[in-house]
C-alpha cells in the first residue's frame, strides 16, 4: 500500500536513478483491445446524447469486455473537438460515471481530429517509460449536441454585469445590449485564419493534385463495400457495443453503387477554376460517436490474462503552412509519414495495412499522389526521388471514415482498435510481426501518424 492507502499497482521498483548514464531499454506498450459505439449521422440516433453520455457508453462496453470493474487504471485520456465549456473535466467525469475505480485519474486532450490517436501515443509513451501499467485512450464528438455560444456582445455585457458593483453601473451595462446580441454563435467548420471550410480547403488541394471525380467515388465505394463486408464477417463483434438502438454505423450504405455516387452534385470547390469533384458521397458527413482503446504493459495484460493484439511502435506529428496555400490544409501526414518511416528504417513496402483516415476521398488520394510525385519527393521531402507507392489492396481494408462516419476525436480510437485486431489476426509476415501504418489529418494544418505491430 502506498502512503494514501490506495493499492500500489504501479511498477515495483523505481528504476530512474539506476539508469543514470546508461539508457534503459523501453518497455513495450500493448493494445489489449477496444470498444466503440456505432457512429451515427448527426441529427440521428444520438441527437440528444451528450459527449459525456457517449464517452461513458463506450467506456462501459470496454469495462464489461475486459472485466475492468473497480479496476484502478493508470490513466484515462480522452477528448472532444466540439466541447462545451462545462465539460472542462469531460474524461474524469466519464470515469466517475463508469464502473472503473473512482481512484482512476484522467485528463482531457484536444488536437482536432488527431485527438484520439494522440491520446493513444501519449499514454503508450507513459507505459513504455514505466510511469503507468495500464491506460484507456478515448475520444468522442457530437455534431448534434454541439456547444452554441452567446454572441460576443451579449457575452461582454454578461461579464461586465458580473463585475458591476452598483445598480447604476448594472443599468449602464444592460443599456448596451442590442437585439442583434441575442443571436447565438454556433461553431463553424471554417478555419479561423482563412474563413474557408475544411471542404473548400480540400477542394483546393484536390484540384492542385488533379484528383479525378471517378477516383474519389471509387475510394468512397470501396470504403462502404469494405465496411459492409467487415460487419457481415463479424469483424466488429468484439469492437463495438450497441447504443440507443444502433448496432451498425448509420452512415453505412452497403448497397451504394458507383453510378449512385457519380450522380451526386458537387458541394465543395464550385467557384474554383478547376472542375468541382467533391460530393456528399466522397466527403465524410457530420457524425456523433465515441471510441476507446485499452493499453497496457505486457506484465499487466499477462497478469490479468488479457489479450495482447499489437504494440504501439512509434508516432509522429507534423504541421504544414497552409494559411497562404504553401501546402494543403490536410496534407501534414504527407510529411509526417516519411519522417516516421525514416526514423524507423522502414519503407512503404514494409507495411501490411494502411489506415489513412478518409476525411475526404480527395485527402487520401492527394496524400498518395504527393508520395508518388518525383518533384514533391525531391523538393519538399528532401529525398532522391518520389517517396513511394502503397499497395492499394492494403488500404482501409475494413472500411474507413467515408463509410463509418467521422466523429472527430473518436476516429483515432476506431482505427487503432480495428488495426490492432487485424494485425493480431495476420500475425507474422516473412518472419517479422505484421505491421500497420495509421495516418490522420487534422484542422489547423496538422497531422498525426503512427506505426502499430502485431504483438
Amino acid at each position: 500500500m502506498s502512503a494514501n492507502g490506495q493499492p500500489d499497482n504501479g511498477p515495483k521498483e523505481f528504476t530512474g536513478p539506476a539508469a543514470m548514464g546508461e539508457p534503459q531499454p523501453l518497455r513495450r506498450a500493448v493494445i489489449v483491445g477496444g470498444n466503440r459505439i456505432p457512429f451515427a449521422r448527426s441529427g440521428g440516433a444520438y441527437t440528444k446524447s451528450s459527449n459525456q453520455d457517449m464517452l461513458t457508453a463506450a467506456l462501459d462496453g470496454l469495462i464489461a469486455r475486459f472485466g475492468l470493474q473497480d479496476e484502478r487504471i493508470g490513466e484515462v485520456a480522452a477528448g472532444a473537438v466540439l466541447k462545451h465549456s462545462r465539460d472542462f473535466n469531460l474524461t474524469r467525469e466519464a470515469v466517475l460515471g463508469s464502473a472503473l475505480s473512482a481512484e482512476t485519474p484522467a485528463y482531457d486532450l484536444q488536437q482536432a481530429c488527431a485527438t484520439g490517436l494522440e491520446t493513444v501515443l501519449g499514454l503508450a509513451n507513459k507505459i513504455k517509460l514505466g510511469q503507468i501499467e495500464s491506460a484507456i485512450a478515448a475520444g468522442v464528438d457530437s455534431a448534434s449536441d454541439a456547444p452554441i455560444a452567446v454572441s460576443e456582445g451579449l457575452r461582454e455585457v454578461l461579464l461586465d454585469l458580473n463585475r458591476a458593483k452598483t445598480l447604476t453601473q448594472r443599468l449602464q451595462v444592460l443599456s448596451r445590449l442590442r437585439p442583434k446580441d441575442l443571436a447565438p454563435d454556433a461553431p463553424g467548420t471554417g478555419e479561423p485564419r482563412t474563413g474557408l471550410s475544411m471542404g473548400e480547403h480540400q477542394a483546393l488541394t484536390t484540384a492542385q493534385w488533379n484528383i479525378s471525380r471517378e477516383s474519389q467515388d471509387e475510394l468512397a465505394f470501396n470504403s462502404h463495400r469494405n465496411l459492409a463486408a467487415a460487419y457481415d464477417s463479424g469483424f466488429f463483434d468484439d469492437l463495438l457495443t450497441p447504443y440507443r438502438g444502433l448496432a451498425k454505423d448509420s452512415n453505412l450504405r452497403p448497397d451504394t453503387t458507383l453510378e449512385k455516387l457519380a450522380s451526386l452534385n458537387p458541394v465543395f470547390g464550385k467557384s474554383l477554376g478547376a472542375e468541382a469533384t467533391m460530393t456528399a458521397g466522397n466527403s465524410t458527413p457530420l457524425t456523433d460517436g465515441a471510441s476507446t482503446v485499452l493499453l497496457a504493459s505486457e506484465e499487466w495484460a499477462q497478469s490479468r490474462d488479457l489479450p495482447m493484439l499489437a504494440t504501439v511502435r512509434d508516432g509522429e506529428a507534423a504541421a504544414v503552412d497552409f494559411v497562404h496555400g504553401k501546402d494543403g490544409l490536410l496534407m501534414a501526414p504527407a510529411f509526417a509519414v516519411p519522417r516516421l518511416l525514416a526514423r524507423n528504417g522502414l519503407t512503404l513496402d514494409d507495411f501490411d495495412f494502411f489506415e489513412i483516415h478518409e476525411a475526404f476521398a480527395g485527402t487520401v488520394l492527394s496524400t498518395l499522389a504527393a508520395w508518388e510525385d518525383e518533384e514533391f519527393g525531391r523538393t519538399r521531402l528532401g529525398l532522391d526521388s518520389a517517396f513511394g507507392t502503397i499497395d492499394r489492396s492494403r488500404l482501409n481494408v475494413n472500411g474507413s471514415s467515408l463509410a463509418a462516419g467521422h466523429p472527430f476525436a473518436a476516429t483515432g480510437g476506431r482505427i487503432v482498435a480495428s488495426l490492432a485486431k487485424m494485425l493480431h489476426a495476420k500475425g507474422t509476415v516473412d518472419g517479422r510481426p505484421a505491421r500497420g501504418l495509421i495516418s490522420i489529418c487534422a484542422a489547423g494544418g496538422q497531422g498525426v501518424v503512427a506505426i502499430l505491430e502485431a504483438a
Partner: protein, 304 residues
C-alpha cells in the same frame, strides 16, 4: 514639403465635429461659390504627447483579427493620424471638398515598433495637388514620432481624389487604362464574410464615422446605393492575414479599386515571394468579389 512650422493643436480633433464642419463648409461653398484657390495650405497640423487608449486598441485588434499584442498595428497608427489629416483638409484655405473624397491608395512605412504606452507626436500635412482623369488628387502625409524627438516611427501617404472637381491651373491627367478587364481571379487563400455592421464596427474603433460606411440610409444620403466597408479596414485585415512573417518594421501599400458593399463576401489571395536562398522577401495580396470577379484592392508588404 512644408515650409511653415506646423500648427500645434491642444488635443486630437474630434472627427465627428470635423465631418459636421465639412458638411457646413460644403453648404457654404455651394451658396457662396467654390473656393478660388488652386494651391494647398503649406502648414501641417500637429498634436503632441498622444497616447493610445488600450481598451480601444484591444477592440481594434480583435475586430481586425489580430492577437492583442502591446505593439500598435500599422493600420491602427493610420487611424490615430486620421483626425489630423481631416483637420488639415477642413481648413478654409484647403481648395477641395472633404466630403465625398475617394481614397485611391495608401503607403505606410513602419520604421520602428510603437508600444501602446509610448507618448507620440503626430503630424499631418497635404501636398502634391495634381490632376486626375476623374478630378483632382492630392497626397496626405502623416508622421508619428516618439514624443519630443525627431525619431520617426511611422509614416503614411494617403492619396485622395476629389471626384469631378477640376481646379483652374491644374492639368487633367491623361486617361490611363487601369485594366479592370485584365484581372482573372485566382483561387482564394481566404474568404471574408462581412456583415452589414462591418462599417459601424470599424467606425467605433477608428473614430471614422463617415456616413457612407454606417448604414444604407446614411450612405444613400451621400449618393451610394448601400454602405461600403472602410478601405483601411480591408487593407488592415489583409495586413493582419499576411501574418508575423513581415517582422516589426516593413513597408505596406494598398491600391483601392471597386468598393466593397455591405454585407458581402470578399475573396483574398496572399502570395509570398522568397529570397533565392530562402526566407521572406515580400507578400502580395489581392482581393476581389467572388461573385462578379471585380477586383476590390491589391497591395504588398515588403521589408523596410
Amino acid at each position: 514639403m512644408t515650409t511653415a512650422q506646423p500648427l500645434i493643436l491642444g488635443e486630437m480633433p474630434s472627427l465627428s465635429k470635423l465631418y459636421m464642419n465639412a458638411a457646413a463648409q460644403a453648404a457654404r461653398r455651394r451658396v457662396l461659390g467654390a473656393h478660388g484657390g488652386s494651391t494647398l495650405p503649406d502648414i501641417g497640423h500637429e498634436v503632441r504627447g498622444v497616447r493610445a487608449d488600450v481598451g480601444n486598441l484591444t477592440a481594434y485588434q480583435h475586430l481586425i483579427g489580430l492577437t492583442a499584442r502591446d505593439t500598435l498595428p500599422a493600420g491602427y497608427l493610420h487611424a490615430l493620424t486620421f483626425p489630423l489629416a481631416i483637420s488639415v483638409m477642413n481648413r478654409d484655405d484647403f481648395p477641395l471638398p472633404v466630403l465625398g473624397m475617394v481614397h485611391l491608395s495608401n503607403y505606410v512605412e513602419q520604421r520602428a515598433p510603437v508600444l501602446f504606452s509610448d507618448l507620440l507626436d503626430i503630424e499631418a500635412r497635404v501636398e502634391n495637388l495634381r490632376g486626375h482623369r476623374a478630378g483632382t488628387q492630392l497626397d496626405v502625409i502623416a508622421e508619428i514620432r516618439a514624443a519630443g524627438t525627431q525619431d520617426i516611427r511611422w509614416t503614411g501617404r494617403s492619396i485622395y481624389l476629389a471626384k469631378g472637381v477640376f481646379l483652374p491651373g491644374i492639368d487633367k491627367a491623361s486617361p490611363n487604362s487601369h485594366g479592370y478587364g485584365d484581372f482573372r481571379p485566382p483561387d482564394p487563400t481566404a474568404v471574408w464574410q462581412l456583415g452589414v455592421d462591418t462599417g459601424r464596427a470599424y467606425a467605433a474603433v477608428s473614430g471614422d464615422f463617415n456616413p457612407i460606411h454606417l448604414s444604407v440610409l446614411s450612405a444613400k444620403a451621400l449618393g451610394m446605393r448601400r454602405s461600403i466597408a472602410h478601405g483601411m479596414y480591408l487593407a488592415s485585415r489583409a495586413l493582419a492575414d499576411v501574418g508575423p512573417v513581415k517582422g516589426e518594421t516593413f513597408g505596406w501599400d494598398v491600391t483601392f479599386e471597386a468598393p466593397v458593399f455591405l454585407p458581402g463576401r470578399v475573396a483574398l489571395e496572399i502570395t509570398t515571394d522568397e529570397r533565392p536562398g530562402g526566407g521572406w522577401q515580400r507578400s502580395n495580396y489581392v482581393a476581389w468579389n467572388p461573385r462578379s470577379g471585380r477586383r476590390h484592392f491589391s497591395g504588398s508588404v515588403t521589408p523596410f
